[in-house]
């Protein structure tokens, strides 16, 4: 494994975007940053600017008015970049399946690298998802 790849697996900075979920996933992601779970252990930082981030963590189903914004944020991120769909909403939009403005999971607009089911996923499950993604990057 070369230096850069090692660096990439050790320092995945995330940016969080809610595409219209219920906040459940968002607070669990935030909880994962706080002392009990402390994502910084893995070198993970929550960044505010898409320009600084490596991994886009999306929560919530894709709604019409957020679709373009989601794509724009993704486009602003520098390569190489990854996307994690956190929560059942972001995977399939199923909890809101009868809502006319919900298009479904985010994989209809973006290539998704990892899915984390749960409604909301426990912070442990989110960490598990991220570490599985890191394993995947290692193997690439």
């Amino acid at each position: 494994m070369n230096l850069f790849k090692w660096a990439r697996t050790k320092s995945p900075w995330i940016i969080h975007f809610n595409t219209g979920g219920c906040n459940g996933c968002d607070i669990e992601l935030t909880a994962a940053l706080t002392p009990r779970f402390d994502l910084e252990r893995f070198g993970i930082l929550l960044e505010g600017s898409p320009r600084h981030a490596d991994v886009l963590v999306v929560t919530g189903p894709v709604t019409l008015q957020v679709k373009d914004r989601l794509v724009r944020i993704y486009e602003q991120m520098p390569e190489p970049k990854h996307v994690i769909a956190t929560g059942t909403c972001a995977i399939s939009g199923a909890p809101f399946k009868e809502c006319y403005n919900v298009h479904g999971g985010i994989d209809i607009v973006l290539p998704v690298d990892a899915y984390v089911p749960g409604c909301p996923p426990k912070p442990e499950a989110i960490i598990d998802g991220i570490s599985k993604l890191i394993q995947k990057i290692k193997k690439e």
Partner: protein, 114 residues
């Protein structure tokens, strides 16, 4: 300045962090993880399919021949299916580390031994 004291106190304490993949908390008794079907008990009445709020369950066939498909990528772990099942064929397991890379693999199929 009380806050400085509090902050310095933390230095002499173990961090509150759970080193997650290496340490895990025990789950509570009634944890709601991935639902699991016991096809020995299932009579194929279809109630779980009907009641599921997010359409995570599919049934193929009816009655005692029925097969069940459970789409984890649609499930919201509410446990209503387990509560509704007249035969208690569904249990909410302790599985929560369900992350995957491929949605087509996030499907659990339950068939009957014939």
């Amino acid at each position: 300045m009380a806050f400085v004291k509090e902050a310095l106190k933390q230095l002499f304490r173990r961090p509150a962090t759970l080193k997650y993949p290496y340490e895990k908390l025990t789950l509570p008794r009634d944890f709601r993880g991935r639902p699991i079907w016991d096809m020995e008990k299932c009579i194929g009445c279809g109630l779980c399919f009907d009641v599921c709020p997010s359409g995570a369950i599919k049934m193929i066939g009816k009655g005692l021949e029925a097969e069940i498909k459970h789409y984890v990528d649609r499930c919201m772990f509410c446990g209503q299916c387990a509560e509704t099942c007249p035969k208690n064929a569904i249990t909410m397991s302790e599985e929560y580390e369900l992350a995957g890379f491929d949605r087509s693999k996030m499907l659990y199929e339950y068939k009957r031994d014939t």
